[in-house]
Amino acid sequence: MGYGYVSGNPLKWTDILGLVTFKPGPSGADVTGLQEEITKLYPTIDSTYEDLGHDEPVITSGTDSHEDKPGSLHNDGLAIDIRGNDKDESDNKKLADELQSRLDTQYGDGDYDVIFEDKPEEYDMLDHIHIEYDPDVPPTMREDMNNVKGDAYGYCPA
């Protein structure tokens, strides 16, 4: 499928912090419009992959290719996709869980959402880990939740 690493052609890649060894995806993922909420995560993402024994993460999508998905945070520079088609399902899940845990610890619960997009078998080449800055649990929702009497839904009272 021609999905080898293509570090020789980082047409649109910009390592804003100069700290990481990310590589752009095969078609040159557009990362130029990514906002700080995402770019500041690079060191954490990079170290997570390294700590779990994986090669450096490859961004396969930044602000590109989501124009037809209204509401996608990619369009706002607040989401990236990282290649998952070079790993099995178990490794991708572990990476996603670990990333979620580290981002929650570092930046607080609820700011970032990490999702392993596990495609059906015949679409394995599209597997990826999606990371987005989505702190959009409105404060009113937490108030709404706290107004629920008792713990019928298993929530811990705030």
């Binding site: 209204p70 059906p120 649990v137 929702m141 937490r142 939740m145 107004n147 629920v148 298993g154 929530y155």
Partner: protein
């Protein structure tokens, strides 16, 4: 009767006759399928409608059948979710008694939701495990999953010898 409605740029076809349950949707989903232009029916059965019921069964296939025109549909048996508490999302007031229809997964954590005749793209739990923990994620767990959605992929095929028919995705062999 076949009702076709357009929403969110996607074609929904709601079948209410011909052996389909009224609450089942067919969702045309060709975006990824565009990558596979050559396929064949590898084995199994062909159907006159996207249902494995006997009345839809046309015949069994014993050999590979090349396909001329193909399209991929998701058959969605809608799920059901309910708000756990009164709240508001995207300007929509929601209360615990409201019933939200859970349809397909749209990626990036979001699902297609049908509520009071309108479609929304919200984060909700699609499995019971998602919100099982006490410290569950309010992005998803503002809603309680009552019944998961069931999704099957079917291909609609037009082939000169056989005419038009439906084939479950697992009977398809991708040739390229």
């Amino acid at each position: 009767m076949v009702i076709v409605r357009h929403s969110l740029g996607v074609l929904f076809t709601l079948f209410s006759a011909s052996g389909f349950a009224f609450d089942q949707y067919l969702l045309k989903s060709i975006e990824q399928f565009d990558e596979f232009s050559h396929v064949a029916v590898e084995r199994g059965s062909i159907f006159s409608c996207p249902s494995r019921t006997e009345e839809c069964l046309i015949q069994q296939l014993n050999e590979n059948v090349p396909l001329d025109n193909v399209d991929l549909f998701l058959k969605v048996s809608p799920g059901l979710i309910k708000p756990r508490f009164s709240t508001e999302i995207d300007g929509v007031r929601l209360d615990p008694d409201d019933e939200l229809i859970l349809l397909d997964y749209l990626m990036e954590g979001r699902s297609r939701i049908l509520f009071e005749g309108k479609y929304y793209r919200w984060k909700v739990p699609r499995s019971f495990e998602k919100c099982a923990e006490p410290d569950n994620d309010l992005r998803y767990c503002w809603a309680e999953l009552i019944r998961p959605a069931s999704i099957e992929r079917w291909m609609y095929v037009e082939q000169n010898h056989y005419g038009a028919y439906w084939v479950p995705w697992e009977y398809i062999e991708v040739l390229d």
